[in-house]
Amino acid sequence: MARALDKYLRKGLSGTTFCPGCGHGILLGSLLRAVDELGLDIHKTLFVSGIGCAAWIPSPHINADTLHTVHGRAVAYATGAKMANPELTTIVVSGDGDLASIGGNHLIHAARRGIDLTVICANNEIYGMTGGQTAPTTPIDAHTMTDPEGNQYRPFDLAALVLAAGADYVARWPVTRARALTESIKRAISTHGFSFVEALSPCPTQFGRRNQFDSIPALYDDLDAHCVERGTSEAAPATNGPRFEIGEFSRSDLFANGSAEQK
């Protein structure tokens, strides 16, 4: 990570606990760059996380107030803190399992309320910390510890889910497009209301190994190749597999396929 961002890191830590090649470290870099470029008062910023590898992105790394909660409940803790002290810029950073499986109810209700929170979901399409089990974001046919023959169930489209629940700002980027991700995090934090940024963040250890990616670069290349940026002429991937529409989303996109937007 760039030296200029060192000042945001907690003293006395000997590196991160992330595996080599984990996307979560890149996301931490993007987040700190966003904080820096916005000139946020770090002492009036609160980082809340749940449980999982992704929940360790802010805690203990960021030298600010951090609230490392229980599995799935980060958004509810953040809601209480933000309502009790509206001056706190409150940023939730957690995993796809944490925010969208066990914590899915809190996520949609926070989006519905529109309380001024920024939620950043580090989506690695798997449960990393607990050994590579299927998550609600795992692609169909992907191999996991609990679906060794391949997952049969449809994954959530998290950006669409949270948008439909009422979020005021939604974006999705892979960590491979770090500049765009940083810009979206900045916009999310600056949005007055509920913002959601889905960061596609590869897990070489639990996802890559089980899905025949023999190198870390191969996993990153594959993710990037399956992302199509909205509003560009970027071609859809020729290969099979998950396709992510990436970019910023607005509520009118939800009903683009013909149905009228609800008033």
């Binding site: 006395g12 600010a64 107030d65 609230l67 490392h68 509810a76 803790y77 209480g80 009790a84």
Partner: protein, 390 residues
């Protein structure tokens, strides 16, 4: 650097004359008088009147925050977040909601977060009889969350105590940085009688950092039973709040046996070190008693009626009323048991606290359980007294 602060306030909410009101209303007024400024909850009978009143009262206060959450897990989570942001916080629930709060309860204990949970108990298990009374949550608040912790829990027997003991619950939650309970039953929560909502009440605030904020150890003290100072979010303390085992600064230490041991023992020791102040009991006709009734909550009202009737018959029977359920009144029960032949212990569950009393009593402890969703009548208690008397 850690002493809790004490102050008196004159809440705009109180009035010195006796008022005729509902138990749940008195608990709400007690909370506000104690300084509660944040309420998160989810509707559940028979506690909802508390939430309804909070929804109005907190919104009237400039610094009050009320939020209806999506479930009880979210409620206790929001409560804890708000406490660290600097508010005195409370929720109110009943058995099914309390069950959902168990993980959050452990988190509050582990992170030393002051907060108050009002539990208006109904007949369980499960949905049970939602509108009928029970006392089935007594052991759950003590042991329901995994691992070892020590809550503070009070059991009111009157509308007056719904007010007074809610204030006590807040004060102990703050002094000790623990989750504290008003463990009431439906019969007291829905009781209507006169109570005085005192104007000047003694209130305590959590111990706060005194020296330079960078040197604060929010999660450890030199003493094995100390209460560390609590900074709030936004004060520059760079807090590391975590439910994982942590050192005094808050750094996760998930492999260190000594840190785990010191922390877990302190969480209980800090409560037990104040045990004599926390544990409150009341004695009725015990001086010469041969048989004693031990009771709490609404059941203690029936027990007192039974004891008075026995006295009229010339039987030397007395009552020990437990106002505090946790920590348990072990010394008081032990002392009593040295002077009486038997203890009769009526309660609206299958003997949850009678079993605990037995661990400390030298005499027989006869459990009088009742789980039919109705209060225990004085007649039933007299019947059991008569049996042990012969």
């Amino acid at each position: 650097m850690t002493d809790s602060t004490i102050s008196s306030r004159s809440p705009e909410t109180s009035s010195p004359k006796p008022e005729y009101l509902l138990g749940n209303v008195a608990a709400t007024e007690g909370a506000l008088a104690a300084g509660c400024r944040f309420f998160a909850g989810y509707p559940i009978t028979p506690s909802s009147e508390i939430m309804h009143l909070m929804a109005v009262r907190l919104r009237e206060l400039e610094d009050g925050v009320f939020i209806q959450m999506e479930d009880e897990i979210a409620s206790i989570s929001a409560l804890i977040g708000a406490a660290w942001a600097g508010k005195k916080s409370m929720t109110a629930t009943s058995g099914p909601g309390l069950s959902l709060m168990m993980e959050g309860l452990g988190y509050a204990a582990m992170t030393e977060t002051p907060c108050v949970l009002v539990d208006i108990q109904r007949a369980g298990p499960s949905t049970g009889q939602a509108t009928h009374v029970g006392s089935g949550d007594v052991l759950q608040v003590r042991h329901g969350s995994h691992g070892d912790y020590m809550p503070v829990a009070f059991s009111p027997w009157s509308v007056q105590e719904m007010f007074d003991l809610t204030i006590k619950a807040f004060n102990w939650a703050e002094r000790l940085r623990v989750p504290a309970f008003l463990l009431a039953d439906e019969a007291v929560g829905h009781l209507r009688e006169s109570a005085v909502l005192k104007k000047d009440v003694e209130t305590w605030d959590r111990p706060r950092p005194q020296g330079p904020i960078e040197e604060v150890t929010p999660f450890g003290t030199a003493e094995p039973d100390g209460v560390p100072p609590m900074p709030h979010f936004g004060e520059g303390a760079n807090l590391l709040v975590t439910g994982s085992t942590h050192d005094p600064r808050g750094f996760r230490k998930v492999d260190d046996p000594d840190i785990q041991d010191t922390l877990v023992n302190r969480l209980t020791a800090k409560v037990l070190s104040k045990r004599d102040e926390i544990v409150e009991t009341e004695s009725y006709f015990l001086d010469d008693a041969k048989v004693a009734v031990v009771a709490y909550g609404f059941t203690a009202r029936s027990a007192l009626a039974a004891v008075k009737a026995c006295r009229k018959e010339g039987k030397a029977v007395g009552l020990l009323r437990l106002k505090t359920l946790w920590p348990f009144a072990d010394k008081e029960v032990a002392k009593l048991s040295a002077h009486v032949r038997s203890i009769v212990f009526p309660e609206m569950n299958l003997g949850q606290l009678a079993g605990v009393a037995r661990q400390h009593a030298q005499c027989d402890v006869v459990s009088l359980p009742q789980t039919n969703g109705r209060v225990i009548s004085p007649g039933r208690i007299r019947g059991t007294i008569a049996k042990v008397w012969d």
